[in-house]
Symmetry: C2
Subunit: 133 residues, 2 copies
DNA sequence: ACAATATAATTGCATTTGCAATAAAGGAGT
DNA sequence: ACTCCTTTATTGCAAATGCAATTATATTGT
């Protein structure tokens, strides 16, 4: 029943379990590593935009960012033109660990698609983009 | 970067946010409704097998099942041949609410795939099955 | 300019989550 | 039968999660 929607959820949970194990020692489990990746790639988003970009609850995102600020991975900067927002930037510590995080994501992506031909991978990407949540 | 693995995670989180809202009043959010669906469909799995079937952490699954037992949706039965395991069965209350849960899953599945032709849907299913987490 | 509405950040609080440890069986090899 | 190893269920504890409410600022309408 509904194999596609169930498979998508199952794959996500399996990847989450794996990443939680992999990043436990760095304490970057529970998607924390994803925040660092995204902020390094797109520095300067404000808190709400970052949460929306990752499709994560704004409160959870806010607390996670606070956690990473305390641990010197991220920092906030006020916006001169808009006092409501705070923009999120990576620290040197975040940039330093980024290659490891990127390598993990690359490896998981490669593993996920290992049985697919390049044509199939392109087609899967196209079809997933057509999905609407 | 890595659009497929990111898209899969994003779709899962969007579906989770939607289902949390939809099932808030029934207090069947946070995937609780999925447990009921699965147990009605496959009654008699033992606790660990149920968790593995849903790709959910065994401790989390255990506590969730306890929650649903307390609320009269599920019940446990000892196995006469194996005293280590407890099998999970749905109650009448679970069977009564199952159509609503099934309808929600059907609607979300239909929405997800609304822009795909039947051929594309079949191809997406095939490609997702080839993915390995 | 002023009021009403909307958006962003933040906090309170209760619940969920999951690693690690423990307890109770079961299974395999001798 | 006995020891060792595995599997299952369970609990303790600390952390993550997210709804609802609050505060501050910005935007829109008149």
């Amino acid at each position: 029943m509904f194999p596609i929607i169930r498979r998508i959820g199952a794959l996500t949970r399996l990847i989450q379990i794996d990443s939680n194990r992999y990043f436990k020692d760095d304490k970057l489990n529970n998607n924390l590593f994803i925040y660092i990746i995204r902020v390094v790639e797109r520095p300067g988003l404000f808190l709400g935009a970052l949460a929306d970009d990752m499709q994560i609850d704004r409160t959870t995102s806010f607390r996670t960012v606070q956690n990473l600020i305390k641990r010197d991975y991220l920092r906030l900067a006020a916006d001169p033109a808009n006092r409501k927002i705070k923009r999120v930037y990576p620290t040197e510590k975040a940039k330093a660990i980024y290659p490891k995080l990127h390598a993990y994501e690359a490896a998981k992506s490669a593993q996920l698609l290992a049985n697919l031909t390049p044509t199939e991978t392109a087609e899967l990407q196209r079809l997933l983009e057509k999905c609407q949540a």
